[in-house]
Symmetry: C2
Subunit: 611 residues, 2 copies
C-alpha cells in the first residue's frame, strides 16, 4: 500500500473513529503526559464520583461505575483530547429529578433497586438519543438553548444543588427537587429532629478547609518553588485530603456505630470489584415522561460538554466536530447504562485540570478509567468510612462556581428580552425544578424572538448628502423628497409580520397625500414567504388604487429568485431597482431624472445580474 493510499485510508477511518487519526503518531512523550494527567484526574474524580452519585440519590459505587466504561468509550470516539467525561453536578441533579418522576420515590430518600434501574434506563435512553441526533447531524439543534437561558439555568442549578446538600451537611433530612419542596420538607420535619452537631462540625470543617485551600494554598505551594500550573493542580486535589482525613476520623472515633452518641451518616459498604455488564431491567410506565427527561438530560449534558470542549480546543487550535461529539457522548452514556452507571457528561473542573496537566490525547481518559477501576478494587473498605457530610462539602465548594449573579445585571443591561429569558429560567428552575426551568427558558426565548420579528422595525430613510448611502431620517441629517418615500424594512417578511407590514405601509401613505412613489428598501429582507407575498400583492393593489407607485430596491439574489416564481414582478405598479440610489436617481426631484427608461434599465440590470 502506497503512503498516499494509507493516508487516505486512515482519514476515512478517522471520520468514524477519531482514535485512528492520532494513534499512529502516539509516542512515549504523549504516553507520559496522558499518564500524569490521568493520575491527577483520578484523584479528583474518586470523591466527585461518590458525591454526585449520592446527589442523584443513588448508591455511591454507581458514581465509580459511571467513571469506567464511559471514559473508555469517549476515548475511542471523542474528538476532544482533554474533555474529562464522568458524573457531573447538574446532570446528577437532573437525574435525581427524573428518577423521582419515574419511580415516584423522592431522590433524597434511601436509594432502592428500582431507582438504580431507572438511572440505568435513563443513561441508556439519553445515550441513544444523542447517538441518533449525531447520526442525523442534528448537533445544531442545541443552539436553540440560548446563552442567557444556559446562564440562568446554571445559576439556579447551582443554588438548588447547594440547597440539596445542606441536608447531608447538617444531618437534617431534606427532600425535594425545587426550593418550594425543600422548604415544605424542612417545615414538615418532626420537632426534636434538628441539626446534628457532629455532622455539621465535620462538614463545615471540610468546607472551610477546601475554601481556604482554594484561596491560599496555591500561593503557599508556589512559595515552595513549584510553577503556577503545578500549584493550581495541587489545589484541585485537596478534596482527596478532606476525604482521607475525615474517613480516618470516622474510623478512629467509630462514627458509623449506630449506638454511639456521635454516630453519623457514612457512605457505608461499597461493593468491591467491577460493574456487571447487563441491560437495565427497569420497565418504565411512563415512556413519554422518560423520553422527555432523557432528552433534557442529553441536551443539557451535550451543550455543556460541547462548550467546554470547544473552549479548551480553541486554546490549542484544535477543532471539535459537534456531530461526532454527539455520538461519542451518546455512546458514553449508553456504556454507563449497561455497566451499572448513571448519565454522564464532560466535567468542567476535571477537564480544566486534565488540560493543565498536559493530557495529549483522549487516552488520558482511558487511563483515568483504569485509575477508578483500581480505586474500586482496592479502596472500597476505606471509602465505607467516608462521612457523607464531607461529600456534601465537596459538592458545595465545587458548585459555587456555577452561580453567576452578575450575569443577570450584565444581560439586562445589554437587552431586556435576554435578561427576561435568563430571569424566568432562573426563577422557574428554582421554584419548579430543573426540567421545567430549561423548558420554560427555551419556550420564552423563542417566544421573545418571534414576538420581536412579528413587529419589525422599519425606518423612512433619506440620502446622506454626497454619497449613495441612505439612513434613517430621524437619526441622521439626510436629503428627502415629499413625493418619494423610501421605507427600509428591518426584518425578513414572513407570516407573523405580514399583516404588520400592511398596516405600516397603509398608515404611512395615509399620512402623506403628496406621495407619488413608495420604495421598499429590501437590503434587510432575507426572506419573503408565501404569506408576505400575498401581503405585498395587497399593498401593491391598494397603492395603485391610491395613485402611488410601489417600487422595490436592493432585493437580494435568493429573495429575487423566489419572487420571479410569482406574479408580483409583473403586477408591480413600479419597478425593481438594483440599489436604493438607482431608485433615488430615477424617482427623486434631487435625482438625475432620467425617467422611465433609466428605471427600466435598473430592472433589466437586476435581471441580468441575478439570472
Amino acid at each position: 500500500m502506497s503512503e498516499q493510499a494509507r493516508g487516505a485510508d486512515s482519514r476515512t477511518l478517522a471520520r468514524w473513529l477519531p482514535l485512528a487519526g492520532w494513534l499512529e503518531h502516539y509516542d512515549r512523550q504523549s504516553f507520559g503526559r496522558d499518564l500524569l494527567a490521568a493520575v491527577i484526574v483520578s484523584v479528583m474524580l474518586v470523591p466527585q464520583a461518590l458525591a454526585y452519585a449520592l446527589l442523584a440519590g443513588l448508591p455511591a459505587q454507581v458514581g465509580l461505575y459511571a467513571s469506567m466504561l464511559p471514559l473508555v468509550l469517549y476515548a475511542l470516539f471523542g474528538t476532544s483530547s482533554t474533555l474529562a467525561v464522568g458524573p457531573v453536578a447538574i446532570i446528577s441533579l437532573m437525574t435525581a429529578s427524573a428518577i423521582a418522576g419515574m419511580t415516584g420515590v423522592d431522590g433524597a430518600a434511601l436509594s432502592t433497586p428500582e431507582m438504580l434501574g431507572a438511572a440505568l434506563l435513563l443513561a441508556l435512553v439519553s445515550g441513544a438519543l444523542l447517538v441518533t441526533m449525531g447520526l442525523l447531524r442534528l448537533g445544531a439543534l442545541v443552539n436553540f438553548i440560548s446563552h442567557p437561558v444556559i446562564s440562568g439555568f446554571m445559576t439556579a442549578s447551582g443554588i438548588l444543588i447547594i440547597a440539596s446538600q445542606l441536608g447531608p451537611l447538617s444531618g437534617l433530612s431534606l427532600k425535594g427537587g425545587n426550593l418550594i419542596e425543600m422548604g415544605q420538607s424542612l417545615l414538615a420535619l418532626p420537632t426534636g429532629i434538628g441539626i446534628h452537631l457532629p455532622t455539621l462540625t465535620i462538614g463545615l470543617g471540610c468546607w472551610a478547609g477546601l475554601i481556604l485551600a482554594r484561596r491560599h494554598l496555591k500561593n503557599g505551594v508556589m512559595a515552595l518553588g513549584l510553577s503556577e500550573t503545578t500549584a493550581g493542580m495541587c489545589c484541585k486535589t485537596t478534596p482527596i485530603i478532606a476525604v482521607i482525613a475525615s474517613s480516618l476520623l470516622a474510623w478512629g472515633l467509630n462514627l458509623g456505630d449506630q449506638n454511639a452518641e456521635h454516630s453519623m451518616a457514612l457512605v457505608g459498604a461499597v461493593p468491591a470489584g467491577l460493574p456487571v455488564i447487563s441491560l437495565p431491567s427497569f420497565v418504565s410506565h411512563d415512556w413519554s415522561g422518560l423520553l422527555m427527561s432523557a432528552l433534557l438530560i442529553s441536551v443539557v449534558g451535550f451543550v455543556e460538554s460541547l462548550a467546554l470542549a470547544q473552549t479548551l480546543a480553541a486554546r490549542r487550535r484544535q477543532r471539535i466536530d459537534p456531530d461526532k461529539e454527539l455520538i461519542a457522548l451518546g455512546l458514553s452514556n449508553m456504556g454507563a447504562g449497561v455497566s451499572g452507571g448513571m448519565p454522564v457528561s464532560g466535567g468542567l473542573s476535571r477537564s480544566v485540570v486534565n488540560f493543565d496537566a498536559g493530557a495529549a490525547t483522549p487516552l488520558a481518559g482511558a487511563f483515568t478509567a483504569l485509575g477508578i477501576l483500581l480505586a474500586s478494587l482496592l479502596l472500597t473498605d476505606w471509602l465505607a468510612w467516608l462521612p457523607r457530610t464531607t461529600l456534601a462539602a465537596i459538592i458545595i465548594v465545587a458548585t459555587t462556581s456555577l452561580i453567576d449573579i452578575a450575569a443577570i445585571k450584565r444581560t439586562f443591561r445589554y437587552s431586556r428580552g435576554d435578561g427576561t429569558a435568563l430571569t424566568i429560567t432562573l426563577i422557574v428552575t428554582l421554584l419548579h425544578g430543573v426540567e421545567s426551568g430549561i423548558m420554560a427558558g427555551v419556550v420564552i426565548s423563542l417566544g421573545l424572538y418571534l414576538k420581536r420579528t412579528s413587529q419589525p422595525h422599519s425606518a423612512l430613510v433619506g440620502r446622506v448628502s454626497g454619497t449613495e448611502h441612505f439612513r434613517n431620517v430621524e437619526r441622521h441629517a439626510v436629503e428627502t423628497d415629499p413625493e418619494l418615500a423610501i421605507l427600509r424594512i428591518d426584518e425578513s417578511l414572513y407570516f407573523a409580520n405580514a399583516r404588520y407590514l400592511e398596516d405600516t405601509v397603509l398608515a404611512l401613505t395615509a399620512d402623506r397625500p403628496s406621495l407619488r412613489h413608495l420604495v421598499l428598501a429590501c437590503q434587510a429582507v432575507n426572506l419573503i414567504d408565501a404569506s408576505a407575498l400575498e401581503s405585498l400583492e395587497v399593498i401593491n393593489e391598494r397603492m395603485t388604487a391610491a395613485g402611488v407607485k410601489l417600487h422595490l430596491s436592493e432585493v437580494k439574489g435568493p429573495v429575487m429568485d423566489r419572487l420571479k416564481c410569482s406574479d408580483l414582478p409583473e403586477n408591480l405598479g413600479g419597478e425593481i431597482y438594483l440599489s436604493t440610489f438607482d431608485a433615488w436617481q430615477a424617482l427623486s426631484i434631487h435625482g438625475s431624472h432620467c425617467g422611465q427608461a433609466c428605471a427600466r434599465d435598473g430592472v433589466s440590470q437586476t435581471a441580468a445580474l441575478n439570472g
Copy 2:
C-alpha cells in the same frame, strides 16, 4: 353641551361601542338598505343554520338560536358594516370534533343533552377567550397562523365536511372526525345496511338542482331583465327553494312515517319559540382539553372572520379594528353560549350577499336576527318535515368552494417550505382531524422559519464598479481585494444561529491566508442578542489571534444602541464604519487609502450620528 364637546363625547363612546359612531347619522335610506339585506340573508340563513347545527351533531334548532342573540351583539360591538355572523361550516365541524372529545360521544350519533351542554360551554369559553385576547390587544397573535396553513386547513376541512355529509345524503350511518375513522365506520357497517335509495334520490336531486342553479340560473334571471347583482342574490336563495320543495314532498308522501316503505330521516320536531337565557350546565372533566378546543375554535373563527371583514371593508374604503373585532366576536359567542346556541363566526357566502344587497350598517345583522326569530316562531311545524338529505346537499354545495387544490401547486412553486407547511396541514387534518391539523400547521411553519433563520444565508460581497454599491461576488461582476473580505450576513444574529456564524467566519478565514481585514456588513442584521454578542466576541478574539482585524459596517441605529451597552465596540480589533463603502475606501487597495485616520473618522461619524 357644545357641538364640539358632543363630538368628542360620542368619539369616546364610539371607542367602546362602535354603534355610537354610526347611529346618529342613521336615516331612512340606510334603514331601507339594511332591511332589504336582512330579508335576503335571513332566507339564506334558515337552511344553513339548520344544516350546520346537524353538522355539529346538535339539534336543528340550535342553529336558529345561534343566529339571534349573537347577531344582535355583533351589531352593537362589531366594526364591520357587512359581516354576517352565525353558524359556519368549519366552526361547526370543529365543534363536532370538540364535543366528541369532551363527551366521548361521536358527533354523528343522535344528539344528547350532554352534547348540547358541551356546545354551549364551548361557545361561552371561546367567546371569553376572544374577549380576553381583545382586551389584552392580542389580535396580532392570529398572524402566527400562516396563509399556507390556513389554505391547507380550509381545503382539508372542506373535504372532511363533504365526506361527513355523504352519510346523511345517502342514508348511510357514518361517524368520525377524520377520513380514517370514517373509513373504519364504513367498513364496520353491518351487512344489509346500505345506501337508502329514496334518501339518496332526494339528496342528489337537491344537489343537482343547486349546482345547476349556481351555474345557469344567474344568466336566466338576468335574461328576465334583472341586474347582475340582483340575479346573483336570487341564486344565493335557491337553497330555500330546495328546502320548501323537499319538505312539501316529504309531507305529501308522509316520508317521516317509520312504518312506511320509503321513510327517511327528517329534521323532526323543532320546538317553536325563543331560546331560554341560562348558563350552560355541562361540567367538563377535562378543562385543559376544553380550553385547547375553545382556543382553536376561537382563533380559527377569528382569522376567517377578520380576513373576510377586511376584504369587504377595503372595497368600501372602511377600516376594521382587529382588537375590537375580537371583542365583538367574543361577545357574540358568549351570547350564543347563554342562549342555547353554538360557536359562531363570520360566514363567507352570507357576508358577501349582505354586502351585495347593500347593507349599510351592522343593524342589518340585527334585522336578520329578527327574521330568524320570526322563522323559529312560525315555521317550525314546516321545518319538521325537512329531509336531512336536503341539508346535506346544501352543505356539500356550500363547502365545495373551500377546496382549493391548485393552491398546493402554486405555493410549492413559490416556496418549498410554505408548500410543505400547507401539505402537512392538509394531510394531518384529513387523517387526524381539524384540531391536530391546525396545531401541526402552526408548529411546522414556526419550525421551518426557525430552521431557516438558524442557518443564515451569507455572501462575500464586492464593489459594483463605479458605485458605492456592494453585491455577492458569485452573482455579480464586482471588484474584490485579496487582503479584504466583506461578508454580508443575511439574517438577524440570535441564539439559534450564533454558533453557525462562528463556523462560517472561521471557515472563511481558514481558506484565505492572505486576509488582513474582515468586514461584517450588517445592513441585514436587525438584532444582535446576548448569545450572538458572545459569539462576536469569540470571533473577534480568534481573528485578533490570527492577525486579522474584524470590522463592522452599516450597523443600524437600534442595533448600535445596544452594542454601545456592551464591551464589543471597545474590544473590537478593527473599526465600525457607517457604510460598507467607507470601509472599502479605508481598507481596500482600490480604496483611497487614507488609512487609520480616515477609519477613526468613520467611527466618530457613526457615534455622532447614532448618538
